[in-house]
């Protein structure tokens, strides 16, 4: 059973009807087939129009869709010879951030991702993609490893944010994030980040201060969740749709503000309707960006990366 979002209700009804008809065995089978074809066409049109004009709040829901492909799906789909690596060498392994070595299009790379999990068990295992300091310290360690072996870095970002917990604060959550940003900026190798779902605040930028930042069409990227923003500025979490609108968190907004470099088109109806196609599109986009970066000497690469970040003041969007 597909999970439908609130705004997909008309679509759910239509697709439900189609399913029902398909299971009817009727002497007038020809008519049913015709009806199914007609309704299917209507459903596709509806899907098209619905997804062509998603509001920022609807996109936030799509970005968080439980069936949307998660970081590990991209790693499995795009890497061969994947060798997972773990641990911060100080305290613990944090499965909210997954990482390792692998080959992308035959080339050895380092890959990192914030993993939300796909069912109850794996969601708990990965702490819903919300990392503790150990996760960011592991990321920093692996980023530095990639630098020493001249391996390009690919990151898949999908997180509501860093984990807000007592233990996380006690072990220096802020410092761990800051160091991961610092290591990202200093890496002497190509660094491509893809926002695949939710790019939530400091927990996202910890893995996204790279040479190129790509965003899936329905992904969102913001400084705080719409709910968090609404409860602080509107003093009412129910104003989340208004906050999502105001914060300019869609891929289109961020491209216009020159805070990301490209948008990756999703399959009709969102990545969750055709994960394989979404993963393939991401692979193609990474390949296109990686080629030119591989031609740059480390010093030039870093200089351009820093220039890219330094330009991100409000003049850009004014």
């Amino acid at each position: 059973m597909r999970e439908y979002l609130d705004f997909e209700k008309p679509l759910a009804e239509l697709e439900g009807k189609i399913e029902e008809l398909r299971h009817l065995s009727d002497p007038q089978g020809m008519n049913i087939a015709e009806e199914v074809a007609k309704l299917s066409e209507k459903a596709e049109r509806l899907l098209h129009t619905t997804y062509a004009k998603l509001t920022p709040w609807q996109k936030t829901q799509v970005a968080r869709h439980p069936e949307r492909p998660k970081a590990l799906a991209y790693i499995e789909g795009l890497m061969t010879d994947f060798a997972p690596l773990a641990g911060d060498r100080a305290f613990a392994e944090d499965a909210a951030i997954v990482g390792g070595l692998g080959r992308f299009r035959g080339r050895s790379v380092l890959v990192l991702g914030t993993e939300k999990g796909t069912d109850t068990e794996t969601r708990i295992e990965h702490n819903f993609g919300m990392a503790r300091p150990e996760g960011y310290r592991k990321a920093r360690r692996l980023i530095e490893l990639a630098g020493r072996f001249a391996l390009p870095i690919l990151t898949f970002v999908d997180t509501a944010g860093a984990f807000p917990g007592i233990d996380a604060e006690a072990r220096g959550q802020a410092e761990a994030i800051a160091r991961s940003i610092e290591a990202s900026l200093a890496a002497p190798v190509p660094y491509i980040a893809v926002i695949i779902g939710e790019g939530g605040s400091g927990g996202a930028i910890a893995l996204a201060a790279g040479d190129k930042v790509l965003m899936l069409e329905h992904a969102v990227y913001s400084v705080i969740s719409p709910e968090g923003c609404a409860s602080i500025l509107w003093r009412d979490a129910a104003s989340a749709p208004a906050a999502a609108e105001a914060m300019k968190l869609t891929a289109e907004d961020l491209l216009r503000l020159a805070l990301i470099d490209a948008i990756i088109t999703e399959p009709l109806g969102g990545a969750h309707r055709d994960p394989e196609a979404a993963i393939a599109a991401v692979g193609k986009a990474i390949e296109a960006e990686l080629g030119p970066l591989l031609l740059l000497a480390p010093a030039e690469l870093k200089a351009r990366r820093h220039e890219r970040i330094l330009k991100m003041t409000s003049e850009v969007g004014a």
């Binding site: 604060e169 072990r171 802020a174 800051a178 201060a209 105001a246 003041t313 409000s314 003049e315």
Partner: protein
């Protein structure tokens, strides 16, 4: 607080105007509720003489307390476009900015000056909490970068006093990008072999803590300051546990190895001078 009026001689009251008198001459400590005479409070650098509570200070006070007398020169910070997203919540961001500017006399939540501390060249950047909670948007990011570049130009130490609720939400992802931008700023200072010292004051949170604030060569916290990434209320709602005593306070961070020192305000300038001296003057005269 009618008893207060008995402490203020009627003559002074007419001289200063009715409304200003009690507030300006006497302050109540928010921690122990005791009253403190304004001159005593000035002398104690806004530390309660009864309970040692460190009250919040303005950016201007930070600069005045830190530099050697008559050595400091304020610098004008680069201008950035206001309200890039034309953000509006229950009020327009442009309106909030206008009010904050009126209230503080500042363009944004940061003051930067250069001068000497104990004879050592230093650039000091102080965040202004009274300006929209000291939140970091493009202007603060630009200001931190300007301070870092000035420190490199002058071969001076960079000292930053933080006081911030975190990122400026009204600037959306632009405010998020100030995290890597300011990290690059402190990188410039470090690459130049100059000291970068952060003084964490009450409160320091969110994207400010998780970027330049935690990257100082030396981290000093003021007693009792709330310092963290996530806010205590968010944590309480997430873990549904009572927070431990003193959680996220300077002393708690010290015990957990997050900061080098907890230094009372009265010793702060001397400590800065000492540390900058030890880092930069290798042979004492």
């Amino acid at each position: 607080m009618s008893w207060l009026s008995q402490y203020v001689r009627p003559k002074i009251r007419t001289l200063l105007g009715r409304r200003e008198v009690p507030e300006n001459l006497w302050h109540q400590c928010p921690a122990c509720q005791q009253m403190i005479f304004h001159r005593d409070l000035e002398k104690s650098l806004k530390v309660c003489p009864h309970c040692s509570h460190h009250m919040r200070a303005t950016a201007a006070e930070r600069l005045a307390w830190t530099f050697d007398p008559e050595t400091s020169v304020s610098i004008e910070l680069p201008k950035v476009a206001h309200d890039p997203l034309r953000f509006r919540d229950t009020k327009r961001y442009a309106e909030r900015l206008r009010e904050a500017r009126e209230k503080t006399g500042l363009e944004d939540a940061l003051r930067v000056a250069h001068g000497t501390i104990g004879g050592h060249k230093a650039v000091v950047a102080a965040m202004e909490f009274a300006f929209l909670g000291g939140s970091m948007g493009a202007a603060v990011g630009e200001g931190i970068l300007a301070a870092a570049r000035l420190a490199v130009l002058q071969q001076a130490a960079l000292v930053v006093f933080t006081a911030s609720g975190g990122a400026r939400m009204q600037e959306g992802a632009i405010s998020l990008m100030q995290m890597p931008r300011t990290v690059l700023g402190c990188g410039l200072v470090k690459d130049a072999g100059l000291p970068f010292i952060v003084v964490l004051t009450d409160p320091t949170a969110g994207g400010v803590t998780a970027s330049f604030a935690m990257l100082g060569d030396i981290l000093i916290a003021e007693p009792g300051a709330l310092i963290g990434f996530a806010g205590p209320r968010v944590i309480e709602q997430t873990v549904r546990e009572k927070l431990p005593e003193g959680f996220q306070r300077a002393e708690y961070l010290f015990a957990h190895g997050v900061v080098d020192r907890v230094v009372p305000r009265g010793q702060l300038t001397a400590t800065l001078a000492q540390v900058i001296g030890l880092l930069t003057v290798r042979e004492a005269a």
